[in-house]
């Protein structure tokens, strides 16, 4: 009886529920994004901010399939490249408007991901890893060798930036301006983060985690694993495709080497260093591993050696990534304060 009574208690009103801690965090993140270009006025650092935003997109997209669904995808660069080339070629060859090409590019990458998931249905672990690596190698080689379409190693030059947006009662927003471009990409990344966050905390997220933990048990609970794997791959690669579209319009040139398999490895490193299986971890992993080589420019050629060493050391000593590190520090800090408070 008492249980029933408890469930009938009125929940928080709509107004109260609206201001949750989580939403507050999103608000803070939006404010930080708004302030960042003001803190870093030089165009060098604003360029880096945009690279950070693109890498954050790539990292959270990869984490969705890797961390939450447990599919060892080490060929994410394929979808990054597909998105970049598909949208750019649509714009250049077929004169499709930018945002239509963006949506189509995202869809095409998503379909590529669904195609790769056909292999994930039958393969697990390292077999899937090598299959996805193969997918990335094939994509790279096609970009390199289909010269009539992609111009191969010569690359595509002078890609137009995203067209200006003219909102009523506001000045035109042009995306040749680094600050505006950063707001566009970072805002999109925040939106994707929000959607993925909602997804992983919904029953869908629970379904994906069930597949990650144990395929067989998930199947015995009636979960259609192939369908959900396809879903996870499609979402993850669509996000990478979106990052690719932004990359093309930001850099203005496309060469296949930007989507070589090593690009997949640096995305993996971002996810692992940040903390796989959390969404916030890869965000910080991406920022750290984008900024680290820039900060280390002073030591010249040594910087990539330090980068490699950093990745290895994090895996060895902090396998849960920055998130694990932060948790350990928070727990210690908490213990210290409680000890401190316990004293009279």
């Amino acid at each position: 009886m008492s249980d029933l009574a408890r469930t009938k208690q009125p929940g928080p009103t709509l107004n109260q529920r609206f201001f949750t801690l989580r939403r507050f965090c999103f608000l803070v993140a939006a404010i930080i994004i708004a302030l960042l270009p003001l803190i870093f006025p030089s165009s060098y650092w604003r360029t880096n901010l945009i690279v950070c935003a693109i890498n954050v997109l790539l990292a959270i997209g990869l984490d969705f399939v890797l961390g939450y669904t447990g599919q060892l995808n080490i060929g994410q660069s394929a979808f990054y490249g597909i998105g970049a080339y598909a949208s750019t070629l649509l714009i250049i060859k077929l004169a499709v408007p930018f945002w239509v090409a963006f949506v189509l590019g995202v869809l095409i990458s998503g379909m590529g991901g669904a195609l790769l998931s056909l292999f994930a249905v039958r393969l697990r672990g390292h077999y899937l890893a090598i299959a996805s690596l193969g997918f990335a190698v094939i994509t790279y080689q096609i970009l390199l060798n289909w010269i009539s379409l992609t111009q191969g190693p010569l690359g595509i030059y002078a890609i137009a930036p995203a067209p200006p947006i003219a909102l009523p009662w506001l000045p035109r927003i042009v995306f040749t301006n680094l600050t505006n471009l950063f707001y566009l990409i970072a805002g999109f990344a925040l939106l994707v983060y929000f959607i993925l966050d909602q997804l992983v905390r919904s029953p869908i997220g629970a379904t994906l985690t069930a597949i990650r933990e144990d395929d067989l048990s998930a199947a015995s609970l009636g979960i259609d694993a192939p369908k959900w794997k396809a879903f996870a791959f499609a979402v993850s690669s669509a996000v990478a495709g979106a990052a690719g579209c932004f990359y093309a319009s930001f850099v203005g040139t496309l060469v296949p080497d930007a989507f070589f398999i090593t690009e997949s490895f640096s995305m993996l490193a971002m996810v692992i260093v940040g903390g796989m299986g959390t969404l916030i971890g890869p965000v910080f992993g991406a920022i750290l591993l984008t900024v680290l080589p820039e900060v280390l420019r002073g030591i010249g050629d040594l910087r990539l050696i330090v980068y490699g060493a950093a990745v290895t050391l994090v895996v060895l000593f902090m396998p849960g990534g920055l998130v694990q590190g932060a948790r350990v520090i928070a727990r210690r800090a908490l213990r210290v304060t409680t000890k401190f408070e316990a004293r009279p």
Binding site: F119, F135, A269, I305, A310, T312, L316
Partner: protein, 293 residues
């Protein structure tokens, strides 16, 4: 036409034999540990550089170069197992050692870039300029050397695995580590032995590949990517399958170069890999392993 086919067949077998040596290392490690070592590629490259510098410094003694490359490979294998795989074994993760070795690979590649520079080295052994003619076919002495050394090494390794006590122990560990441990086999020292053998093989194949490849700090990457394909096509952890798959990939490479375009090599190899995974994911010769398929 027949001459071209035979000629490219020889070239394919030369490359295939070398790929087998690299892939066998990967497959041996996978057999005992079910882990992938991404830095294997850089052991190949370092082997090639070691052989190059020894051959240059000691007035062209290529065989001493090969010996040093084997040594360098073995030492690196020992280091990588001791520093990366052994500490991470308790985590029981498929991904962490992979990422850690990607980090090692980035370190090694950039260290080599710093030391040796990005310009390709011309690695000429005394044997790469001597050409043997048989009818209308020809091959260099270097090619003959590669075929002989790789065949001998593969045969030795095969005999070692089949007939010696250590080889049997190694196979026991790869079949079931816990039961092998119960039988008094120390899995840790055998895993270390596997790493040393596998990496010594990689170093040696680097020394043999050096004169054939474009020798830069990134040379190993293109080889290792094909070696991964070979390992999967042959069936992870399976020696016979790896040998067959290696030769197939070598032949695909030479015939694609001849009849299509060198740019299509990787596409052809990985298309075969993906078809293989779709049709027969256990590899050419099925191994009794349930964990991956």
């Amino acid at each position: 036409m027949l001459t071209v086919i035979l000629q490219q067949g020889i070239n394919g077998i030369v490359m295939g034999g070398l790929y087998v040596l690299v892939a066998l290392g990967l497959t041996l490690i996978y057999g005992v540990l079910v882990q992938i070592n991404f830095a294997h590629a850089d052991i190949v490259t370092l082997g090639a550089f070691a052989a190059y510098f020894i051959a240059q410094l000691l007035s062209g003694n290529y065989f001493l170069g090969i010996a040093v490359a084997i040594l360098v490979g073995g030492v690196l294998g020992w280091l990588i197992n001791a520093a990366i795989f052994a500490p991470l074994r308790e985590q029981r993760s498929e991904l962490l050692p992979l990422i850690a070795t990607i980090g090692v690979s980035i370190m090694l590649q950039n260290a080599m870039l710093l030391l040796f520079g990005p310009i390709p080295y011309a690695f000429n052994t005394p044997y790469s300029s001597r050409v043997i003619h048989i009818g209308s076919l020809f091959f260099t002495l270097q090619n003959l050397l590669i075929i002989l050394v790789s065949t001998a090494t593969i045969a030795l390794l095969y005999a070692f695995m089949k007939f010696t006590f250590l080889g049997k122990a190694l196979r026991a560990v790869s079949q079931d580590r816990d039961t092998a441990a119960l039988m008094g086999i120390n899995p840790n020292s055998l895993i270390m032995l596997t790493f040393i053998i596998a990496s010594a093989l990689a170093g040696m194949s680097g020394a043999l590949l050096g004169p054939v490849l474009v020798l830069t700090p990134f040379a190993g990457t293109s080889v290792i990517v094909k070696a991964f394909a070979i390992v999967i096509i042959g069936g992870f952890g399976n020696v016979e399958g790896t040998i067959i798959a290696g030769l197939i990939v070598g032949l695909i490479e030479s015939y694609t170069t001849q009849f299509l375009d060198p740019g299509w090599i990787d596409i052809a190899v990985f298309a075969l890999l993906l078809i293989m995974l779709a049709v027969r994911p256990t590899g050419l010769i099925a191994e009794k392993r349930a964990e991956n398929v």
